[in-house]
């Protein structure tokens, strides 16, 4: 792939998140936490304004940016912190930037932001350079 420091990738990974996206992720992953599909439960159990997307949906979408860029077998590590919840109506943009290349491995800083420029996922990946 010949990655070098400073290489970047930016990609809109989901537009206008809706409840169908969220329940599809719940069904595929098996994570049926009611906070993500049961409006009443989200409001009454935990005081949230509505359901919100699984953090792992945001991470999965962010991973798609990486595999679209690097291919499906290049990743060695991928780790994130969930920095903000993703709500119905949000649009997410994932960005990667190569910060280091050493011994054939590239370290990539990863951040995914919502339509307000707030980060929802921040982390790092390591891939074959």
């Amino acid at each position: 792939m010949a990655l070098k420091v400073g290489d970047t990738r930016e990609q809109v990974v989901i537009e206008n998140v809706n409840r169908s996206h969220i329940v599809k992720y719940a069904g595929a992953s098996g994570d049926f936490n009611p906070l993500h599909h049961d409006e009443g439960a989200a409001q009454k159990m935990a005081g949230y304004p509505s359901v919100f997307a699984h953090g792992m949906l945001s991470m999965g979408l962010t991973g798609r940016m990486l595999t679209d860029w690097l291919g499906p077998t290049a990743l060695k590590k991928f780790g994130v912190r969930f920095t903000k919840q993703v709500w119905p109506g949000d649009t997410l943009t994932a960005k990667g930037e190569v910060t280091k290349v050493e011994n054939g491995l590239a370290t990539i800083k990863v951040v995914t932001t919502n339509q307000n420029g707030e980060s929802v996922v921040e982390g790092e990946a390591v891939a074959q350079a």
């Binding site: 996206h21 992953s29 049926f32 935990a46 005081g47 999965g60 979408l61 991973g63 991928f78």
Partner: protein, 162 residues
């Protein structure tokens, strides 16, 4: 101490469903006859695919309507996949993967989880945050370690504000 583990068969339909759920249509996740798929030795899986093992975890706490004998298990903060993202006050704080060996359709993975570190932090808006880590290993039918997943859950004393 790791638990005794459970088996997670990697099935072509499940890989397709999961790839769709993260809006990914690349052929290496669904079409065994595509040249791109052949080039990687058969269907491979998206970076966060191992989350699907929740379907096969016998005591998985975040599926309250799964048919089972007896009452649903109590939520454990260090549940794999849930990462402490339990019902109510729990949230998934971090997720980390290390990829050691590709996972292919047809593999049967053995999934074992052990608790990791636990720590406490004062929240920015007051109230304690309790973090707990769990480390899950996915090994294939040849005993080869494919993925190590570390999940960090956080329990908060109040709902997280927007």
């Amino acid at each position: 101490m790791a638990d005794e583990g459970f088996e997670f068969p990697v099935d072509r339909t499940q890989v397709m469903l999961f790839a769709r759920s993260v809006l990914d249509i690349r052929p290496e996740y669904s079409d065994p006859n595509d040249p791109a798929t052949k080039a990687v030795g058969g269907i491979v899986t998206p970076p966060t695919f191992v989350q699907c093992s929740a379907h096969w975890q016998p005591n998985y706490p975040l599926d309250l309507t799964r048919p089972r004998q007896g009452p649903p298990p109590a939520h454990r903060g260090d549940a794999p996949g849930g990462g402490g993202g339990g019902l109510g006050r729990g949230l998934h704080a971090e997720q980390h993967y290390e990829y050691h060996h590709p996972i292919h359709v047809g593999d049967t993975l053995t999934v074992t989880t052990k608790p990791g570190n636990r720590w406490e932090k004062e929240g920015r808006r007051g109230g304690k945050l309790l973090f707990s880590e769990s480390v899950t290993e996915y090994r294939n039918q040849d005993g080869v370690l494919c993925v190590t997943a570390t999940s960090v859950g956080v329990q908060t004393e109040r709902a997280v504000e927007q």
